[in-house]
């Protein structure tokens, strides 16, 4: 080790000397740039660091990535939940789901048309919207198709990461103007009860949303984690519906029509509806029910030895705050309260922790969340009983990881059902 350090330091000095000799280093900045391109030196206190920069970058060894498997116009990429800390998702790792690709939109030309059952139909440019009093809130967005791989018998494969199973979940600080402020500006006519929100992508993504939700807490969001919303999240403007399924939170928003009935678009009829065993299909199932996932340990990690480990995960509910997360380390036979790491915000993810002394034997670890309505995250058997295995969305059942004697961790729900 010591010998290697000497060699690499010698090699660095030789390289630097060679460059100096060749006349490539003329200023201190040149020298620092050279240093920055090198591998980490054996002793960073003996080498000058690099200068300031206009745009930061992650440490070379820290390169979390979305999982973008399908290269198609209608596709998704998943957030690496296993690599993240706290509750905020870095904007460049926020999951994607789009139906016609990510449009390229010029912010200065983008406009929002608000019309229908209003007193004054109006057009707002982005500069107009930015002049209204703004609000900022931290909320999760989850695709209602998230977690299908933890629901049906066929899909419960052991070799799946938490990113593959539940990565259509991200949390951001969202900044924008309440839709209620804009509807106040245009004046809603009596009898109005819905809006149609329409996007400016090549799928012209459209969803109907009840007016009471819009007036309650919907946002016209243009900011995300301190900067403009990323193109993949709807730049320059998206609808934000706290706690509701991601699809209804129309991105690249260009039009709001105030109506007295739903439009019955494709995405709220043939998609994003839930066939049930009694022969019906549940429609307008907007709210994301309480759910939790353990992110560590999970598939991709291994526990090298028995002893103390901190189990971590995320819990969230579209109906309000998470009030309790319980963790089982014996396959669901007994449960203990996990610690909720604040802040605990409504319609937002909360990180939970549970200190566990692993005895080195095979076991399954599970989590279950309770929200402020008293709703407890159900087992998959409970969901199967009321919704059948063929339902299409809303898979918020408890998950399980198997921790093997070897320390290997795999998705373990399939062994418990």
């Amino acid at each position: 080790m010591e010998e290697q350090s000497k060699i690499s330091r010698r090699a660095w000095v030789a390289t630097a000397s060679g460059v100096v000799a060749a006349g490539l280093i003329k200023t201190q900045a040149d020298a620092v740039r050279l240093v920055a391109q090198e591998a980490p030196p054996p002793d960073p206190t003996k080498v000058p660091g690099r200068f300031t920069s206009e745009l930061g970058a992650r440490a070379p060894a820290e390169q979390p990535r979305r999982l973008a498997r399908a290269q198609a116009l209608s596709s998704a990429s998943q957030t690496p939940l296993q690599d993240l800390m706290g509750i905020i998702t870095p904007a460049d790792l926020h999951f994607e789901r789009h139906h016609g690709g990510v449009p390229t939109i010029a912010k200065e030309r983008h406009e929002l048309l608000v019309h229908g059952m209003v007193e004054r139909p109006m057009v707002f440019r982005m500069a107009d919207l930015a002049r209204y009093p703004q609000v900022s809130r931290i909320h999760f967005i989850e695709c209602s198709g998230n977690g299908r791989a933890a629901y049906t018998h066929d899909s419960m494969r052991p070799e799946q990461t938490v990113q593959m199973i539940d990565g259509l979940l991200s949390t951001s600080e969202w900044i924008g103007v309440p839709v209620s402020t804009i509807l106040r500006e245009v004046g809603v006519r009596p009898g109005a009860s819905w809006i149609l929100a329409e996007g400016s992508d090549s799928a012209v993504m459209s969803r109907s949303v009840p007016l009471d939700k819009v007036m309650d807490d919907a946002l016209l969001a243009f900011g995300q984690n301190g900067e403009a919303i990323r193109p993949e999240q709807g730049y320059p403007l998206r609808l934000m519906l706290p706690g509701w399924e991601g699809n209804a939170q129309v991105k690249w928003l260009r039009r709001i029509e105030v109506t007295d009935r739903p439009t019955m678009t494709r995405e709220e009829t043939s998609k994003y509806t839930d066939p049930l065993p009694d022969g019906t299909a549940r429609q307008f199932s907007f709210v994301m029910d309480a759910k939790s996932v353990i992110t560590f340990p999970s598939y991709g990690f291994a526990l090298p030895d028995r002893g103390w480990w901190e189990i971590q995960g995320l819990a969230w509910s579209g109906r309000g705050r998470i009030t309790r997360v319980e963790v089982s380390t014996d396959g669901g036979r007994s449960w203990r309260d996990a610690t909720l790491q604040g802040p605990v915000l409504p319609k937002c993810t909360v990180r939970f922790r549970h200190l566990w002394e692993w005895n080195g034997r095979d076991t399954h670890i599970l989590s279950r969340a309770t929200d402020e309505t008293g709703y407890v995250q159900p087992t998959v058997q409970q969901l199967w009983e009321v919704r059948g295995e063929q339902t299409s969305y809303h898979f918020n059942n408890q998950r399980a990881w198997k921790v093997a004697r070897s320390g290997e961790v795999t998705f373990g729900l399939g062994e418990l059902v």
Binding site: L113, V123, E185, E257, R266, R282, V386
Partner: protein
């Protein structure tokens, strides 16, 4: 921040999804005066905020007409034009077959044709088996199809290809012609099966 009567909103939600409810005017969620803001000031606005800020510009009728392209389940928004099953077959074989297959069942993208017996509900989520409103086809195709050249079909072609897909599903006869009158009148088998979300959270029975 205003609190609206949840019961009223839920009742409206339910009413809006009953058969033909879209033809009835719903009562206002904001009371008889129609003032959405009588109960207080919206979140984010201080008490001294003006009733109107005056930002933004009036939308002209022409501007609204250019962008207001959606179609409601009662047919509102459908343009003039018409198309037959036979004309639709030609449109389909030109613009749709590559993604949906020669008979609408092969893919590689969404399967369009085939109504499974109800005993196998939901079976395939096809137009004949799962789509509750025929008007949705016009709304969706005009906006988003064909996927690589969205908006390329004119109203006649759009009506025609819808007629063809409905015919492949056995929902209209071979001599059917679709237009703003006939399309909303097509009876869709899945219509009666859609119910409004009844999940409520809390400690009651899981739904």
């Amino acid at each position: 921040m205003i609190r609206f009567a949840r019961a009223t909103a839920v009742a409206l939600l339910v009413a809006a999804c009953q058969p033909d409810a879209q033809d009835r005017p719903a009562s206002s969620v904001y009371g008889p005066e129609g003032s959405a803001f009588a109960a207080g000031t919206p979140e984010g606005l201080p008490a001294h905020a003006p009733a109107r800020f005056g930002f933004g510009t009036s939308a002209s009728a022409a501007r609204i007409a250019a962008w207001d392209i959606d179609v409601k389940p009662d047919g509102e928004g459908l343009p003039a034009g018409r198309g037959s099953v036979e004309q639709g077959r030609q449109v389909y074989m030109t613009h749709c077959v590559a993604c949906h297959g020669p008979t609408g069942t092969e893919g590689p993208n969404d399967r369009l044709v085939g109504a499974e017996p109800w005993g196998e509900w939901p079976g395939s989520l096809t137009v004949g088996g799962y789509w509750p409103y025929a008007t949705t086809l016009f709304d969706y195709i005009r906006k988003a199809m064909p996927q690589l050249t969205p908006g390329i079909l004119n109203p006649d072609q759009t009506y025609a290809v819808i007629a063809y897909v409905l015919h492949l599903n056995g929902l209209v006869p071979a001599d059917a012609v679709m237009d703003a009158e006939s399309l909303p009148a097509v009876a869709m088998p899945a219509r009666e099966r859609f119910v409004v979300d009844d999940r409520v959270g809390g400690t009651g029975p899981l739904r």
